[in-house]
Amino acid sequence: MKNRIKITTFLLVLILLLTAVFGGTSVFAANSTYQKVADLNGKVIGVQTSTLYEEEIMDRCPDSKIMYFTMPPDMINALKGGKVDAYLIEEAGYYEHYKNHPELTVVPENGGDCRGTVAISGKDKQKEARLLFELNEFIAKHKEDGMLDEMYDYWIKGFDANTSVCKEVTYTGENGELRVGVEGAYEPFSFVSFGKDSGFDVDFVQRFCAEYGYIPKFDRVAFEQIAPGVETGTYDLGMNIILSDERDDAVTLTDVYYECGIFLVVLDDEYVSTTNFIESIKNNFHNTFIKEDRWKMFAQGAGLTTLITLASILFGTLFGFLLYIACRKGNKIANGFASVYNWLIDGMPTVVLLMILYYIVFGSTRVSATIVSIIGFTLIFTSSMFDMLSVGFNAVGKGQVEAACALGYSDSQSFFKILLPQAAHHFLPIAENEVVTLIKETSVAGYITVMELTKISDLVRSRTYQAFFALISTAIIYFLISGILTRLIRVLEKKIDPKRRSKDKILEGVVIEE
């Protein structure tokens, strides 16, 4: 009965959301068309974090407020929702936006020019010098023979998300592996198609690697983290770093490998929607799940989220127990360590902890991001497990331990036979909440390139430019995973509750004479 109410409420909310999202697509605030960049002075302008495009227009729009976005699809939604009046995007990206959102248009005057380069890690000076030489040679050579222009036309001017593919190459690999940081959700430069990396940047790297004997390994990471990742040596190369005065000093950049205009995108007030409600839902659903078998990506993301969660629970429980056992007898070193450890872990946002682990602690090693995230969440769960055990064991009266001791129980006998069964009763209900928190926290693992569920939904959204199904299905999957895990804990809770045993069970195997 209770469940039915829950489901009904859920469906109602879903329908309301659907209407709000799709119903809203055809209704626009009437916007007079802007003719010059300066017309947008004082307005709110969106820009993708770390592209630094805003610097190009600051001279003409000194009073404008800048809003920063991680992904282009978010900027489109912000523009449509009226949160920004315009946003900046390079010419190449705009074509793709327009294809999916015909209600967009651009201010005739260009915002500026963007010149893309490749960042090279300076961790290994020799390697840095060699890569810089090789990449500049590659760029110079193919500017000359027209290959880069050809690629630019193919990927940017004539881009078609359904048909454009990277050139087939074969790697000889004699010079080893190259780790390359790409945005991954950034058509047409780098995106995921049929579960594989594709796009102008990817094509560029693959051709380079084939020619110079490397094997590329792509990491999809938020744009603003590419440069820092290159700096710490997590990546050998970072793609699509836009040339600016400030950046030149921090990391080594190659020559420019593509150049294009920066557009100011605004809403076209003359546009009239032609698609109807049902059709746009169908279209959205198809794009999100069916096209390119994207449901498989969701399945993989959900799998990875579950894996990270379960592994962290397993190891966290183990280490939490060990830590608690070490601290139980009041050992000063162990307790000192535990309090510093808890203070550190509790005081740090999960994202920061993960980034420190990925970019600094394991920065120059080749430990995979998934392993790093499992380590990070294990550290977090160890801390909460330790707290839970402290609460649970403290709830059992000291007197019982003393009584067991006086009877002649050894320390471990009293721990396992007297303390643990009672403590579990106290800490399992807390564990339920901690596990749910953990599952939700894993959504930030995407920051360190882990392809978990939230990251997958970001990637899909960056392809479809449609947020609804991607986000709602992601939320539902999180609900399912946490629902299953909390149900499991509850079963365990009932199973080990001594007070739920039947009378027969208590004296099982005893002959009772009346």
């Binding site: 059992v396 009266g397 007197g399 019982q400 003393e402 009584a403 067991a404 001791c405 006086a406 009877l407 002649g408 129980y409 050894s410 006998q413 036979k417 007297i418 069964p421 009672q422 009763h425 001594p498 007070k499 009378k503 208590i506 004296l507 195997g509 005893v510 002959v511 009772i512």
Partner: protein, 368 residues
């Protein structure tokens, strides 16, 4: 059987046990009594090493157990302990509380453990509570189960640490009668208690603890009826007393009277009798003696003996003698001449030139 040699226990701020020497023989039923904070419980907890003595030796069956080499768990299996707060295992039923230690520690089979447990449940009169959890039981019932749990281990000695202190007065009896039953079976016991009557009747040996050690050790008859040492005597007679020194004119009369009344309340002395006492105190000390000199030196001692049911007030003062009968206070004179007030008024001249006077008043109470 158990011998303690020069056992000392120090904590950071107090030293409850300074130097304990005692031998516990097989069959002894020892009551440990004494004022609060004199280390009675600490002594008991040192015997089974729940508290580790700072120095000294504890010898059980010829073996020193506090040298760090001894397997304490083996020694503890032979010593039962019953706690003030029962400490039953909360997640186990009554029967399991009694069975579990037997199975885990003595290796008895489930069947054996069950039979032993049922026997004991009959002994303590709780055979109907087999499947109950400790939280379902009253304090008195829990303590009886705790005693049964201890007995199931067939201990050579049982240490009772204030077994009835946490109980409602109505439940003290049921627990005491179980312990009395045990005492008759010849098992060696040591009981820390505040119930003097119980301590006296159950024991064949009484230890009075004070001044960080065993102050007096003897048979119940010796300790309760003819104590040899001062503090024992005071304790047994509940002769705790209150004293005042009145040596200046700003004496806090109201504070003193309220202190006297608190004392009366604490010892359950009849309010009328206390009223008589305070009337006399006020009239003699405050209204007369204090007014007669500029340098007062008055000492007042009030004590009550529960055993003899006597309330005494002794007033000693120097200087001019005050004639009690010369008072004009009607209420005071009435008390003074009442049949249940006895007094003695003397002048003592000792070696010094100073004249001292002593008034001794006793207030009796007759049930009407």
């Amino acid at each position: 059987m158990i011998e303690l040699r020069h056992v000392r226990k120090e904590y950071e701020d107090v030293t409850p046990l300074e130097d304990i020497n005692i031998t516990i023989n097989k069959g002894d039923v020892i009551s440990v009594i004494g004022p609060s904070g004199t280390g009675k419980s600490t002594l008991l907890r040192c015997i089974n090493m729940l508290e580790e003595p700072t120095s000294g030796e504890i010898i059980v069956d010829g073996q020193v157990i506090n040298d760090g080499k001894c397997d304490l768990n083996e020694v503890r299996k032979k010593m039962g302990m019953v706690f003030q707060s029962f400490n039953l295992f909360g997640h186990l039923t009554v029967i399991e509380n009694i069975m579990e230690p037997q199975m885990t520690l003595l290796g008895r089979s489930k069947q054996e453990a069950y039979e032993k447990a049922m026997d004991l449940l009959y002994t303590v009169g709780l055979a109907t509570k087999v499947y109950n959890y400790p939280s379902d039981l009253s304090g008195g019932q829990q303590q009886r189960i705790a005693i049964a749990r201890t007995l199931a281990m067939d201990p050579e000695i049982i240490l009772f640490d204030e077994p009835t202190s946490a109980l409602d007065p109505s439940m003290i009896g049921e627990v005491q009668s179980v312990i009395r039953l045990l005492a008759k079976t010849g098992v060696t016991m040591m009981i820390v208690t505040h119930e003097m009557d119980f301590a006296k009747k159950i024991a064949n040996r009484v230890i009075f603890m004070d001044e960080g050690g065993i102050y007096e050790d003897g048979t119940p008859k010796q300790i309760f009826e003819n104590p040899q040492r001062d503090k024992t005597r005071k304790f047994i007679h509940r002769l705790s007393s209150i004293d005042f020194n009145i040596n200046n004119e700003e004496f806090d009369t109201y504070g003193a009277i309220s202190k006297i009344n608190d004392y009366g309340d604490r010892l359950l002395i009849e309010p009328e009798r206390m009223q008589n006492l305070t009337t006399c105190f006020e009239e003699i000390c405050i209204n007369n003696l204090l007014q007669m000199t500029e340098e007062p030196d008055i000492r007042v001692n009030i004590e009550y003996s529960e055993k003899k049911d006597l309330l005494n007030m002794n007033i000693t003062y120097s200087g001019e003698h005050f004639e009690l009968e010369s008072s004009t206070n009607e209420a005071f004179l009435q008390v003074l001449n009442a049949p249940d007030t006895k007094y003695l008024d003397r002048v003592i001249t000792d070696d010094s030139d100073e004249i001292r006077n002593r008034i001794n008043m006793t207030f009796i109470w007759e049930e009407i």
